[in-house]
Assembly symmetry: C2
């Protein structure tokens, strides 16, 4: 197997302590790969990074309009949220709008993964519910679609259910990648996830951003979902989260969504490009450095924004006493890349 | 730079989702490397994996005896503990024995990193103190040494302090590696940490386990510390932690200690060998699979123990609903290696 290159280094003092390898692909709206690093044909589980594509049936079916879903609801349908009180309340509201409650969720429950959120919840004496699950908004979106289209809600997470088959067909159509049962795994929230090439993911997000190659109904739904995420980035992730902070940094100009095991998909609408990347080892600190550095290069012509992103991509590490230890930093393969 | 090989794969369904590379070295007591994978000369910060070597002055100076330190205290001096109530109480007791209290600690405080421990602490309404710091036992050991030897306690964490210079000299002597200021970084708990080759770390732990090449005072101190860790493994890490579980699995036969950024050092006293390994990307799930699989091969002649370890090394991943997702598993480079 080809070795992907080292794209992120973690330093301590003058020494590189750890190294992260990865691959990335960028496509334009004409279906051309305009930049790549590493093996972009390797099968990759996109995990949560494709929630905006998985939410297309919610909009296309008319369910979102029928239930009065606002931008924040649509952002939640595309989210891996932190389980902060606003996220929990919003997931509950989405279900209520669709005539359901939390008992319909089949995603399971887990404690928030962001430490401050977890501590606040534990201090409150409450336990996490399915509404706290980072995927509860996506599941509320699936359930709303089921309710509107007369699909069965019970068992909606299972491979082979009507809604999951619908979602898979949409994924196949948008990415152009065959979604084979041989490459199907189960995601953290129990729905099927299919491993496909990074290049097809980048191609899919270029189509989502430009509408090129999509029928008008789908092109409009894609634009509406991406715009909703960019308008309500707090509902896509949460406080101090990379997706939220990046979309807040340049409102309407950056769309990004992470997935577990260090995937990022996204788009820069004004450039008409989509991208997908993965850090080989699943390390989120590295995929974040990768996507931020990539965005810095994509906005090379906007020097102020590009410089802000470049600074963010070099993340200083401090210890419990606030002493500077080193950096998580992208290597020159990204930080000095001439992409556009 | 040489690419280290993939030593651990993370699977989902039938697909490899993530990959971890790394290197490992095994030495015998005669200073010979008997097995290696990858670049074992690369500079590596051992971080907490060498706490037993850093604790040698505590025993050699007579401080441990003067203050009546038991095995549990010595294990704590070598520990990265989880901050469970027993660990916190034991760190406080060590300081009390040395005539000090928690105000002498300069390690900083942090919330426990093990989620169940963190949740219990947050639910109790308490905040973490320096006693909860995973390194508080090591720091109590440093402070006890300072008190016994008349070294200054204030500023004991700083590079250039008497105790840190002493610890560095011991590390140089045991590992044979030059500890250069150029390769010195600051650890999470604020003490200096020096990057040295993995091979020298393995050589050092072979000496610790066998006493070969060490003067009698040091050989005895090394044996006492390693035996204390193997006798009180709960105090070396904590509930559901790899170091604790491995040393509990085969009492007196396995010594292991992890360090941040995916390092493991250890020894198998009955085989007279020491080892050191690191996963390139700092992923703990991978370094755990690496060390467990390595131990399975080292105990190949004890079929029952070897099989238990091989099973542990293949860790099943389940989601919030308890559905099996895949495995964290060592590759054949370790799991099929003929080491002994």
């Amino acid at each position: 197997m080809v070795s992907n290159p080292v794209l992120v280094e973690v330093t301590r003092g003058n020494v590189v302590e750890s190294r992260h390898r990865g691959a990335m692909s960028i496509f334009d709206g004409d279906g051309r790969q305009v930049f790549s690093i590493g093996d972009v044909e390797r099968l990759t589980f996109p995990r949560s990074a494709i929630k905006s594509i998985q939410a297309l049936p919610l909009v296309e079916s008319g369910a979102a309009d029928a239930f009065g879903f606002e931008d924040a609801d649509l952002a939640m349908a595309c989210a891996s949220h932190s389980g902060e009180p606003e996220h929990v309340a919003r997931a509950e509201l989405m279900l209520k709008k669709a005539g359901l409650d939390a008992s319909a969720l089949e995603c399971g429950s887990h404690w928030p993964t962001q430490q401050p959120v977890l501590i606040d919840l534990a201090k409150s004496g409450k336990e996490p519910t399915a509404l706290h699950n980072n995927c509860s908004g996506k599941h509320a979106g699936f359930l709303a679609t089921c309710m509107h289209c007369g699909m069965q809600t019970k068992g909606y997470v299972a491979q082979g259910s009507e809604i999951q088959d619908t979602v898979r067909d949409v994924m196949q159509s948008v990415t152009g990648a065959r979604h084979s049962l041989d490459h199907c795994g189960t995601d953290g929230c129990s729905i099927p996830t299919y491993a496909i090439p990074l290049s097809d993911l980048a191609n899919g997000f270029a189509k989502m951003a430009t509408g090129n190659g999509l029928e008008p109904l789908r092109a409009n739904a894609a634009k509406r979902l991406i715009n909703a995420c960019m308008a309500e980035p707090y509902y896509v992730a949460g406080s101090r989260r990379a997706c939220t902070e990046l979309m807040q940094l340049a409102p309407g100009r950056i769309f990004v969504k992470t997935g577990a095991e260090a995937v990022f998909c996204g788009a820069v609408p004004e450039l008409g490009i989509g991208f997908a990347l993965k850090c080989d080892d699943g390390g989120t600190r590295a995929s974040e450095a990768m996507v931020i550095s990539l965005l810095s290069r994509l906005f090379a012509k906007d020097q102020e924004l590009s410089a802000k992103l470049a600074a963010m991509a070099n993340k200083e590490l401090k210890n419990w006493n606030g002493i500077s230890l080193g950096y998580v930093r992208p290597t020159e393969l990204i930080s000095a890349a001439n992409i556009i």
